[in-house]
């Protein structure tokens, strides 16, 4: 086992374990904490894949913004008594079964991938020569300019929507 493989084994193992912890903890605050750790590991995986910018985004947006939002909501709702109740629904064995079967299916699919498209121009060296952020930026602002603008619109709509929905009605 080479060093990268060992690293991947650690990161991968941690990600799986942390995911399981996230979906099984009774207290949602604990889940959020485990998720924070999970996101850090995923960011590390991105780094491992030479995607520094995405790793940074992962930490800033997911860990910094979305998880904090979750925490806010949990605090806001003040769900003390929830902790004493059952954590799974009645149909949970179905959920588990489907999850396992789905995983098996996906693994089977991996063996079926036989078409490898031609390699693109963004080799590791190419990215390294100008830096990841610049590479992403160039692609984003040229080829994907329109989707980028649309993404900004989606965010705008989300802001307005969230405010409208969560605001207390003033009669």
């Amino acid at each position: 086992m080479t060093l990268p493989q060992a690293f991947f084994a650690y990161i991968g193992g941690m990600i799986v374990v942390l995911s399981l912890l996230v979906v099984t903890r009774k207290n949602p605050v604990h889940s959020v904490m485990w998720m924070l750790l999970l996101f850090v590991h995923i960011a590390a995986l991105y780094l491992f894949l030479n995607a520094e910018f995405l790793a940074a985004i992962q930490i800033i947006v997911y860990a910094g913004a979305i998880l904090v939002l979750f925490l806010f909501v949990i605090m806001l709702l003040n769900l003390r008594k929830e902790e004493t109740e059952k954590r799974f629904q009645r149909q949970w064995p179905f959920g588990a079964g489907i999850g396992v079967v789905l995983a098996v299916f996906f693994v089977l699919i991996v063996g079926k991938i036989d078409v490898i498209p031609p390699l693109g121009q963004y080799s590791i060296d190419a990215i390294r020569s100008e830096g990841h952020i610049m590479t992403v930026g160039k692609v984003l602002y040229t080829e994907f300019l329109l989707p980028f603008e649309i993404a900004s619109l989606i965010l705008l709509v989300a802001i307005i929507g969230a405010v409208v929905l969560a605001k207390k009605r003033v009669e």
Binding site: T2, P4, I15, V16, S19, V22, V23, P28, S31, F39, I42, L45, Y46, L49, N50, A51, F53, L54, I57, Q58, V61, Y62, A65, I66, L69, F70, V73, L77, L79, E82, K86, R87, F88, Q89, Q91, W92, G95, A96, G99, L102, A103, F106, V107, V110, P117, L119, G120, Y122, A126, V139, L140, E143, P147, A151, I154, L155, A158, G161, A162, L165
Partner: protein
């Protein structure tokens, strides 16, 4: 080198855990987090593909997915709060307003 298939298998396992969480948990907030988990698993495979195919598109897509995930979390949680205000429960199996 780490083979591409390892990443995909990892992504598949995390996605399946997310599906399990979505289907099994009662707490609506955890259900939301399961959705985020699934999105992240997809991100992992996309970045891996991007790396191994030496293409930027996968990463750009991840970028958009993160955007949408943020928007979705904001809206979803806002709906949750608005809902909780009327029905003080966030147990998925107690919310059946859709029942005909």
């Amino acid at each position: 080198m780490v083979p591409l298939s390892w990443y995909i298998v990892l992504s598949a396992i995390v996605f399946s855990i997310g599906v399990f969480g979505f289907l099994a948990r009662r707490n609506l907030i955890i259900v939301f987090m399961s959705v985020e988990l699934m999105l992240n698993s997809v991100n992992i495979s996309l970045v891996a593909f991007s790396h191994y195919l030496q293409s930027m598109r996968g990463q750009i897509l991840v970028f958009f997915i993160i955007t949408v995930a943020a928007a979705e979390a904001a809206i979803g949680l806002a709906i949750l709060i608005a809902f909780y205000r009327n029905n003080p429960t966030i147990k998925v199996d107690e919310i059946n307003l859709l029942k005909g």
